[in-house]
Symmetry: C2
Subunit: 190 residues, 2 copies
Amino acid sequence: MKETLHKYINSFVQLTKEEFATFDEILTQKQFKKNELILEAGKICQRVWFATDGYFRFFHIDSRGNEITSDFYFAPSFISSFTSLLRESPSLVNIQAMSDMEVLEFTKKDLFKLYDNYPKIERLGRLIAESVSIASEEHLFLLLNQTAEMRYKKLLEKNPKYVKIIPLQYIASYLGITQETLSRIRKSVQ
Amino acid sequence: MKETLHKYINSFVQLTKEEFATFDEILTQKQFKKNELILEAGKICQRVWFATDGYFRFFHIDSRGNEITSDFYFAPSFISSFTSLLRESPSLVNIQAMSDMEVLEFTKKDLFKLYDNYPKIERLGRLIAESVSIASEEHLFLLLNQTAEMRYKKLLEKNPKYVKIIPLQYIASYLGITQETLSRIRKSVQ
DNA sequence: GATAACTTTTGATAAATGTCAAAAAAATTA
DNA sequence: TAATTTTTTTGACATTTATCAAAAGTTATC
């Protein structure tokens, strides 16, 4: 578990044994059940998780009572409601584990202490923030495509994995359409 | 000009006189004319700009030949195609100055040298990346609203400034709709 | 392996939004 | 101020997408 984390971190920035040891100290292991909410909308997110397998779904309930999926995170990855974490504002999203899984957890408070003492760990933070930002922009660009069919085709091109693994109903709202429409598009495209 | 930049930076992280002096060394002053493209789609972005007034528009041409506005940056702010800059990939967007303006410019290369030597400047980089990420998520959430009217109302609520200052045609594609539809919505809402 | 629960598909219809062309309004320039 | 250019609005109509209800298909559970 921790080895996977170390490998993952090393793909961003090389840490020394001592730095890894310090990082390991703030970690605690946790288990999540399939469909469990690891963060509920309305609460202020104080933690970051690291998952080695499976994936997570971000969703919220809109003004009409519909469940809207806004994001997916596939392991290996750090997962958090970064907006809530950084702003200390109530999370707009629920984060849901999509399978039974084990994760490593740490608090924002502990992480920020590491930032103060280990510039390389703060660099890791910068690089993660940058990659989250890029992923968010990609989703944004997907949604800016005018037709639902074009959005679906671009997703197929860019993230075929999403289409293979994630239930259609969740992909639909991620693309800003209903599941019925996505079902019809999928039929017409293939 | 530089004083405004220093004030802006200080709102993220306190730099010493020496650190500001070092930062100042990588800056060059530039002028842009209204409507000028400060970055063209297809080119790899190598620079970051800092503007003290006015605003910028990000746009691209989609597969149907329509101009799609994907972002706005209001001064004071750092402006760049961060995705292109960080990935060293061709920019998907054009960045356009929306008025005559003076800016301070610096290269990615120089910035990254500062990151290596000044942890506080790297922290600034992290904080900027985080705020870009949050802004991007907000636009994303706007687009996930199902009806065009709801998207417009949420924009009015969240960024009344946009609606006041930016021509309707640009706001329309930012909301994922045509200008005719936005014109009709605006009429029905007010 | 049968039952239940959940997910996807289908059909009919309504509603929202896009398209194109032209007019009106506003901003810019001579 | 007049002329020109740019932006916004309007109308008629086409197209896309949503909605609702039900059926079919799939997966999980006992």
